[in-house]
């Protein structure tokens, strides 16, 4: 079954992250690079992507004529998706184990960041009764 592992954060958390010392950011990049390579080599990685910072996010709604209405103002509490992994796992427990590895990625001073990772199955297709 496919699972998605999501990293999210508020704008304040993104700004805090951007203020980490260079060597701490470097250590985190290196951890992620090795982690991704390990997931890929073991055949569990389906996809991984990082998103641009929240200041580039826009909310789009259809206007009356269907034209896009965009808005770039968000509540401070809004959690933005920072990036995700899609993995193929035999059980939810295996997906949680991999998420815990990501959660333990090094933060400032090399301490585990313990960031929360949301885990959910990915649907392969809408249920047949909906088609």
């Amino acid at each position: 079954m496919k699972y998605i592992l999501m990293m999210t954060g508020t704008k304040a958390q993104f700004n805090w992250y951007a203020s980490w010392p260079k060597e701490d950011l470097q250590a985190q990049f290196e951890f992620m690079h090795a982690f991704n390579k390990e997931l890929k080599d073991s055949g569990v990685l389906v996809a991984t992507e990082g998103l641009a910072f929240p200041d580039q996010a826009r909310i789009v709604r259809a206007g009356r004529d269907g034209e896009p209405l965009t808005d770039g103002v968000f509540p401070e509490s809004k959690e933005f998706l920072a990036g995700y992994w899609i993995i193929e796992a035999g059980s939810p427990e295996q997906a949680y184990k991999i998420a815990a590895r990501a959660s333990a990625a090094p933060g400032p001073g090399g301490q585990p960041s313990n960031m929360p990772i949301e885990v959910r199955p990915v649907m392969s297709a809408p249920p047949p009764e909906m088609l």
Partner: protein, 131 residues
């Protein structure tokens, strides 16, 4: 340029969708299938994934010894990712147009839902990175 179009909703919002009549649900999925087909044919669709319902979501953190600590209790205000579309388009305006199409998808009685779609650019990836 790659953009991600994020469809989000609270648990209450998802429950509202579950109360739609079968014909309304069917019309919405048919609309999405047509839009996906159109975006595949134009070569703009990179990936599309629907996620399982919020009640299957868990937040995972690394415990002291690195083992996963899971939690399935969320604030009512939490916005869950319901699904995403990744598109490869020439401009942000084109990404916003596609998002407006999604926002105009039919809801109960065929009336456009006008749901908000968050649009953000993907971070470019170095070619030596895995996946």
């Amino acid at each position: 340029m790659k953009y991600i179009l994020l469809m989000t909703g609270t648990k209450a919002g998802v429950d509202t969708c579950r109360a739609w009549s079968p014909s309304d649900v069917q019309a919405h999925f048919k609309f999405l299938m047509r839009l996906n087909k159109e975006l595949s044919e134009s070569g703009e669709l990179v990936a599309n994934e629907p996620l399982a319902a919020p009640d299957e979501a868990r937040v995972v953190r690394a415990g002291k010894d690195g083992t996963p600590v899971t939690d399935g209790v969320f604030p009512e205000s939490k916005e869950f990712l319901l699904g995403y579309w990744m598109v490869d388009v020439e401009s942000p305006e084109r990404a916003y147009q596609i998002a407006a199409r999604l926002s105009a998808g039919p809801g109960p009685g065929g009336v456009p839902t006008n749901m908000p779609i968050e649009v953000r650019q993907m971070m470019s990836r170095k070619t030596d990175e895995p996946a």
